[in-house]
């Protein structure tokens, strides 16, 4: 049961000596090996992880652990720079690239004794909503192999097996979501630019937190859209997300877009009385394509709050329908700019083409980037041309301001928090998902998550229930800028009400069954 415990629970176990950091690390590594078919990890840093675990063990023996994260196995999305460990962004452009420095968030985790198990899989350069478009192949949703899904799925023919039936994790932080969901780590870092943490969290049945822009340092996060990117937190429960947030948030002199004011980590209160809470239901989030299942679940959740005494009101965010187009323009423009550094000269892939510098650049970039990346670069450069700049880029920035103002108005009107669906439906089977191209899928899937990035607001996915197909469905809460405490408090209350079921995975059962006899953790059932 240790592997399925929450981060706080296993941290307590480490402190009490019921398990050692090396045991924990070894179990996680073993489980990673036996769940290799999920393709959640690009790099498993076995040696360094075990070394970190040993050092943690020494500290526990001396009675001097660094804190709650000491000895905790975690995973990091492969677009965060990790010193000495390959950072690929799931792209040919960075295959073999070993950063000489750690991203600030990685450094913070390591400084607190966390054990870095490895780098997780993603869509190439975080562009996508399926975690299917990276050079290391797609990530498989662990729920594809769950008892819950298998019971519900009807094979189309006798020869069909789970091989072709597996569903996607969502993206682009699919590897991190799958890693947490399959119990190979107790928390993972993702990134969120248009929903890339919340989307896979919803599909994989885990908590996915997008913090307020500027709260957590982006130094070392290889950027997609600098003005929207945030590091994302994926955990098994809301309390764990609060722990991670506390250890990561705060000003970083290396990132000029982080807030100057001091951040105080907080413990989440156990909210019992929601009568003073005002929950807004934005009507525009009843988006085209929203499954009737999720619509019903959303409605049920609203009733849950109402029946508990909270004020539940319908609100309007009128510019929501424009946010996707606006996002695509701004995203493409920043991508075109951010990718300009990949010229094969200083690091990364360099083509053998030697005819001229220009031809070397062109060949390097054609060889290094997939279609999705190249498509965004081309359109981004188009939008940034002098004759187009006003029409596209500036216009999109203006619309962005309107979208952000929608939220300001609603929060000013007395609403504390917004409740929306996270995704339009449960996870699609891979074979179905790849029928449409990346751009189409992104446009569809980002629609409910992306406005929060435009406005820089904090948002969180809370796993809510299983769909008819036995797959996770989550709901999203969006909060006020820098009011993560309120956001997480409400999310925690909701999590307690819905009692989302634990995934029943064969592999995990096997690993976890090998439990020390004296471990009768009464606190976890």
């Amino acid at each position: 049961a240790m592997l399925r415990a929450s981060l706080r629970q296993v941290s307590a176990a480490l402190k009490e000596g019921r398990v050692t950091p090396t045991e924990l690390c070894q179990r996680c590594l073993a489980l990673i090996k036996s769940t290799k078919f999920l393709n959640a990890y690009i790099t498993v840093a076995e040696e360094t992880a075990l070394k970190q675990a040993e050092e943690s063990e020494e500290r526990y023996k001396r009675g001097q652990p660094l804190g709650i994260l000491d000895g905790i196995p975690i995973a990091v999305k492969d677009n965060f720079s990790t010193a000495g460990i390959e950072t690929t962004c799931a792209s040919n452009m960075l295959k073999g690239y070993i950063s000489p420095y750690n991203a600030t968030v990685v450094q913070k985790l390591l400084d607190q004794g966390a054990v870095l198990l490895g780098k997780t899989n993603l869509d190439e350069f975080a562009m996508g909503s399926g975690s299917t478009d990276g050079v290391f192949g797609p990530v498989r949703n662990p729920w594809s192999y769950s008892k819950q899904y298998k019971e519900k799925s009807v094979p189309k023919s006798h020869s069909e097996d789970e091989e072709s039936n597996w569903v996607i994790t969502g993206g682009s932080s699919g590897g991190s979501a799958a890693a947490v969901s399959s119990f190979t780590c107790f928390a993972a870092l993702g990134s969120d630019t248009g929903g890339s943490t919340r989307n896979p969290a919803a599909h994989c049945g885990v908590v996915g937190l997008k913090p307020t822009y500027g709260l957590i340092s982006r130094h070392g996060l290889i950027p997609l859209v600098n003005s929207m990117d945030v590091p994302g937190i994926l955990t098994r429960c809301v309390d764990d997300a609060a722990v991670l947030l506390g250890s990561l948030a705060g000003h970083d002199p290396k990132d000029s877009t982080t807030i100057q004011d001091g951040f105080k980590p907080f413990e989440l209160p156990n909210l019992t009385d929601v009568s003073k809470l005002s929950v807004g239901i934005p009507k525009e989030y009843h988006a085209p394509g929203l499954s009737s299942e999720i619509l019903a679940l959303w409605s049920k959740a609203a009733d849950l709050f109402k029946n508990a005494g909270a004020k539940v009101v319908e609100v309007s965010l009128p510019h929501t329908p424009y946010s996707i187009v606006c996002y695509h323009v701004l995203c493409a423009a920043e991508v075109a700019s951010n990718m300009a550094r990949f010229d094969g000269l200083e690091y990364g892939h360099r083509s053998d083409m030697k005819d001229s510098t220009e031809s070397m650049y062109a060949a390097t970039r054609r060889e290094g980037f997939n279609d999705v990346v190249r498509g965004r670069i081309l359109s981004g450069n188009y939008f940034l041309l002098k004759q187009n700049y006003e029409k596209y880029f500036v216009k999109a920035q203006k619309v962005r301001r309107l979208i952000a103002n929608d939220f300001v108005k609603v929060f000013r009107s007395g609403v504390d928090i917004l409740l929306t669906p996270t995704t339009l439906s449960d996870a699609a089977p891979y074979t179905e998902f790849i029928q449409e191209d990346n751009r189409t899928r992104s446009a569809q899937d980002d629609i409910l998550t992306q406005a929060a990035n435009m406005a820089g607001l904090p948002a969180i996915n809370v796993p809510t229930a299983l769909s008819e197909r036995g797959l996770p469905v989550g709901l999203q809460f969006i909060g006020r800028s820098f009011q993560e405490k309120q956001l997480l408090t409400v999310a925690k209350w909701f999590e307690k009400q819905v009692q989302f079921p634990v995934i029943q995975l064969e592999e995990v059962k096997r690993h976890d069954a090998d439990v020390f006899q004296h471990q009768k953790s009464a606190s976890f059932s």
């Binding site: 003005s227 990718m339 550094r341 002098k386």
Partner: protein
Amino acid sequence: LAPWVPVVGLEIHAQISSNSKLFSGSQVQFAAPPNSLVSFFDASLPGTLPVLNRRCVEAAVMTGLALNCSINKKSLFDRKHYFYADLPAGYQITQQRVPVAVNGSLSYSLCIDNKMSQMVTKTVRIKQIQLEQDSGKSLHDDTRSQTLVDLNRAGVGLMEVVMEPDMCCGEEAAAAVRELQLILQTLGSSQAVMAEGQLRVDANVSVHHPGEPYGVRTEVKNINSIRFLAKAIDYEIQRQIEELESGGTILNETRAFDSKLGCTVPMRDKEGKQDYRFMPEPNLPPLILYDAKSLPANMNHQQVINIDWIHERLPDLPSVKRKKLVEQYGILPEHSFTLLNEDGLAEFFESVVKQTQMKPKKVIGWILKDLLSYLKQHSLTVKESPVSSFLLADLLNLLEKKEISSTAAKQVLAELWKGEGKTPLEIVKEQKLELLQDQKELEQICQAVIDGHKNE
């Protein structure tokens, strides 16, 4: 033939004198081993972010104030995109939309007809001053078909000073740049040594007939000294006039100055117009500067830049220094120009004046004629002068007390240049250059001469 009006504008890049680069902590140093001063950010490693260097902003504000600019309390940073080996990120961070300083002016002086005694003051408008990154250096090795890239200079802070096309010839441009150089060196915001690439000047040149619209302009680059600046501009003006008078047209192109041939040639590299796809730099918030009025009470003063505070502490600019020298010592305006034009000369002059009874108006002649010409002949700086201000003052005192004649003084000075450590008095005694004051002695000598020639 209708007269031609040449029009000259300048784009000047001054390297900011600071310990570290504009957006990263790596050091700024001339002639260091290749790629030894390159931070992760300078190398454009993915995930690195720019952090603004306070000292660079202060340098730009100082320069803006010295050039009578309005300092923008809010200025912005932008990305200017192009691919080149010495630009690792594929874009330069600059200030295209709103630069830190605008609408200033620079006054400079020229001699009419090469006569120092006739100086005229001119003014050139300063369009703006913007902060931006310098690029690295690339060396083309054609024999091995390779390019060697050194990123030491990549990311060093630059102030781009744009001078409006208010100048008409090479001489004016040279004088304006010279004055700017002195101002920057006085402020300490840039060492502005052209030979070390700390001051780079590009000239925009066009010609037109009076009353007609401005002609097509060319940009002239690769100018390595103030002397060559004047030459390049004058050549280009001439070239354009000849081209137009023979029925040709001027292309809006970039030309390089070839110092060996003394002419401008089209540059191979620049083909067509580049679209730089300017975009706001998303990783840098707007740069906010304060003055005494707008400074919030509880602000940590380490975190902010106060324009008024900087203004109060500006040193005397060259124009002010010159005025003071003229007023204090009664020297001519053109003297003050020469004094300031030579590094350390004004200080030398003042030091001599302090140590001698000779009037400054007389001292100046010895400084500007004798000392300076000797230094120039031997390519020495004032600092390297074998004759110290003490020695020169000593000598001038002898002259002032009429112990030697001025001819003798020049002789002594010639001896002093040898730097053998002798004092003026010692040289006078050695060479028997003393002026005889004794009446009786003089009579005896004269009598002896007359006696010697009695028989003639």
